[in-house]
């Protein structure tokens, strides 16, 4: 166990969006039975992730998923969990648009953890997520849950959220009560695996640069016209 490296990914979002169910689905591969009670503090799960699966440089890593409880009254105490982190998963509820709008506040809270030693709230409207992309470069993934509720309500449910566009992050939509939501080979599972790979790369970047055989297709689906990759 000492020889398997680990990375830390925190999972944040409003209270009641489904972070605990999501983390359980990712780590155990099957949905959570019953409905969980509100997370007090932080609950952790681990996933054994195969970095660059299917290539000769495949390696196992532990991805620690820190599911941080979202109730607003615990704000002053939960900053202890934010540091250090190598990846952020932002979770919102597809049937509740406000939870998506609050994601920028969550991002600000997580990234301003160093200046939040006093417990006064940060002026979140001054925070610009686009600045973030250039500065800290922690990989972000946006996940929208409760897909089953939204398909009942309205047909046009798959528009990308604003925060995902601003940070240049991937977005996936899941229904955490379906086992096949993250089945191997589905587009959601591929995006998730890509996200974990990016997190691992960022952390162990110098080590991996030596081992890189061919550039893994991390950005192939992103529309970045100035970036091209070659097989050298």
């Amino acid at each position: 166990m000492a020889s398997i490296d680990k990375v830390r990914v925190i999972v944040v979002g409003d209270s009641g969006v489904g972070k605990t169910s999501l983390v359980h689905l990712i780590s155990q591969g099957k949905p959570l039975e019953g409905s969980p009670s509100w997370t007090v503090g932080c609950s952790v799960e681990v996933k054994l992730h195969e970095f660059r699966e299917g290539t000769p440089s495949q390696k196992s890593y532990f991805v620690e998923l820190w599911d941080i409880g979202g109730s607003s009254s615990h704000r002053n105490a939960r900053s202890v969990f934010y540091n250090p982190t190598h990846g952020i998963i932002l979770v919102h509820d597809l049937s509740n648009r406000k939870s998506q709008q609050n994601l920028s506040k969550w991002l600000a809270e997580v990234l301003n953890k160093d200046s939040a030693t006093s417990s006064r709230s940060i002026a979140v409207d001054q925070y610009d997520p686009e600045q973030f992309v250039g500065s800290t470069q922690i990989p972000i993934l946006v996940i929208g849950t409760k897909l089953d509720l939204v398909e009942k309500l309205r047909a046009n449910s798959r528009r990308t959220s604003a925060i995902a566009e601003e940070c240049g992050a991937d977005e996936i939509f899941v229904d955490c009560q379906q086992m096949r939501a993250l089945a191997a080979g589905s587009s959601s599972a591929i995006k998730l695996a890509r996200f974990f790979d990016k997190v691992i790369e960022r952390k162990y970047q110098t080590r991996e640069a030596r081992d890189r055989v061919s550039p893994f297709t991390v950005d192939s689906r992103r529309s970045r016209p100035f970036k091209s990759y070659h097989n050298d």
């Binding site: 166990m1 020889s3 398997i4 680990k6 409003d14 209270s15 009641g16 969006v17 780590s27 007090v40 503090g41 932080c42 609950s43 952790v44 799960e45 681990v46 996933k47 054994l48 195969e50 495949q58 390696k59 196992s60 532990f62 620690e64 820190w66 607003s72 009254s73 615990h74 002053n76 105490a77 939960r78 202890v80 969990f81 509820d93 049937s95 509740n96 648009r97 406000k98 939870s99 609050n102 006093s118 417990s119 309500l153």
Partner: protein
């Protein structure tokens, strides 16, 4: 002015209150939730608007604004409307949303079940009047007195419970005497301990993950990693029992981490309070807290006296205050003139503080217990409580007004036993205040011991 113009003025003010209630709902109450049913918003704002109109009519009564007959008509109209909302409309929709959220009820049965639920509610509402000596038996079945008397009982109970708890809680939270100093080093050591616990949980979960992965490893996978698996395969002898034991250990550690987190949270809260107490606002509230605790003790004492000696005050504070000013202090005041202005100020203050206080309490309550599934039901419950609360505060306010202004309330609300409501308020206030004192005493002691434990463990 004629009847039509007066009614227009009142209608405009009602629309203003409606908009105010709507804005409050969107900005404060439903801050984190998307509104799927506009009906909920509508009902809440309508109840708020009608309640504020009641208070507005009292103030118009004192100031003498608008025609007497218009006011009289409006009183009846608004009262009927608000009773209809709190007894028929809002409970019906509460039942409707509750029935809808039960998963095994099919769509066809929702409406009939809701009607049955509402009928059960009205039956219990009716029976509420039995144990209390509410009114003289000469009234008919569907008169306004029957409805108001029962709404009054519920509303007065809520008022007294909230007043009792608030009167005790306010000094407790604002006075520096009850605050404990928390050292930064204590907080940091508690945080360290919490993170250590999380690391231990992670270690166990990693072992579980490896143990459960091992049976699924096919021999042909990942040449570089199979050496790793071989290492583990040889080290652990009985995989399944190990997993179960690890899982129970992890659960125990998770429980510990929750306790540590809650202690950390209360320590941070106490730090924030100490910080706030140093500000000007904090010092001001601290001073007020001393006066308030005196007032609270006096009120408990007076309630006990009222109950024991079966005494009901006949004079309102305004007339009594003016009498003291004239007879004992020898001031030469025009009683009639000042009586009107002072009662206007007093009633205005009471109205504003009670509306603000109730809205703040409801907001705090809503944040604490609502979730995305139950938000609609809880908001409607709060609207119901708000309606009943404001109707009862009109009832009780009769005591605070001079005799010439009481007549309209007595006329409109009918032949109620007002003394009973004041006595009932005193009883419930006493019970609520004493139990809050006991509750806060034990909570304070418990937190003090927890802090001592945490400091002990952290060092």
């Amino acid at each position: 002015m004629g009847f039509l113009e007066d009614s227009c003025i009142i209608l405009i003010s009602q629309v203003g209150f409606f908009v105010g209630g709507w804005v409050f709902f969107v900005k404060k109450l439903f801050r984190d939730y998307e509104v799927h049913h506009a009906l909920v918003q509508l009902l809440f704002s309508a109840t708020f608007s009608l309640s504020c109109t009641l208070f507005e009519l009292i103030i118009f009564e004192i100031v003498g604004f608008l025609d007497q007959s218009t006011r009289y008509f409006q009183w009846h109209f608004v009262l009927y409307l608000i009773l209809f909302m709190t007894i028929v409309l809002v409970p019906f929709y509460i039942g409707y949303f509750i029935v809808r959220s039960i998963s095994f009820v099919r769509d066809r049965w929702v409406r009939p079940l809701t009607i049955i639920v509402w009928l059960a509610f009205s039956y219990f509402f009716w029976r509420l009047g039995d144990p209390f000596p509410l009114l003289s038996p000469s009234k008919g079945l569907f008169s306004i007195e029957q409805a108001i008397s029962r709404v009054g009982v519920i509303g007065v109970t809520i008022m007294a419970v909230l007043s009792g708890f608030g009167a005790v809680n306010y000094p407790y939270t604002s006075m520096a005497y009850f605050m404990r100093k928390v050292q930064d080093s204590d907080v940091q050591s508690l945080e360290r301990k919490l993170l250590q616990t999380m690391d231990m949980i992670l270690a166990k979960k990693k072992r579980i993950a490896l143990a459960s992965k091992r049976p699924a490893v096919a021999p042909g996978t990942t040449g570089g990693a199979s050496g790793l698996w071989g290492l583990f395969r040889s080290s652990v002898s009985a995989p399944t029992e190990n997993v179960r034991q690890l899982q129970s250990e992890a659960r125990g550690l998770e429980e510990l981490s929750r306790q540590l987190f809650l202690e950390l949270h209360s320590m941070r809260n106490m730090q924030e309070r100490v910080e706030w107490a140093k500000t000007w606002q904090g010092k001001y509230f601290n001073l007020l807290g001393y006066f308030f605790s005196l007032y609270c003790t006096w009120k408990i004492f007076i309630s006990t006296i009222n109950i024991v000696f079966d005494r009901v005050g006949k004079k309102d504070p305004v007339t009594r205050g003016l009498e003291i000013a004239v007879h004992w202090l020898g001031l030469d005041v025009d009683v009639a003139f000042w009586s009107q202005h002072v009662s206007f100020l007093l009633v205005g203050c009471i109205v504003v503080t009670s509306i603000r206080g109730l809205l703040l309490t409801l907001t705090k309550f809503f944040y604490a217990i609502s979730s995305s599934k139950s938000s609609n039901v809880i908001v409607l419950l709060l609207a119901q409580i708000m309606g009943m609360y404001f109707v009862s505060s009109v009832l009780l306010m009769r005591m605070n007004m001079p005799a010439e202004y009481r007549t309209i309330i007595t006329q409109v609300l009918g032949d109620l036993q007002f003394n009973f409501y004041h006595r009932w308020f005193d009883v419930i206030f006493l019970v609520s205040a004493l139990s809050s004192i006991c509750f806060l005493y034990f909570a304070h002691k418990q937190v003090a011991t927890d802090d001592a434990d945490a400091t002990f463990h952290a060092n």
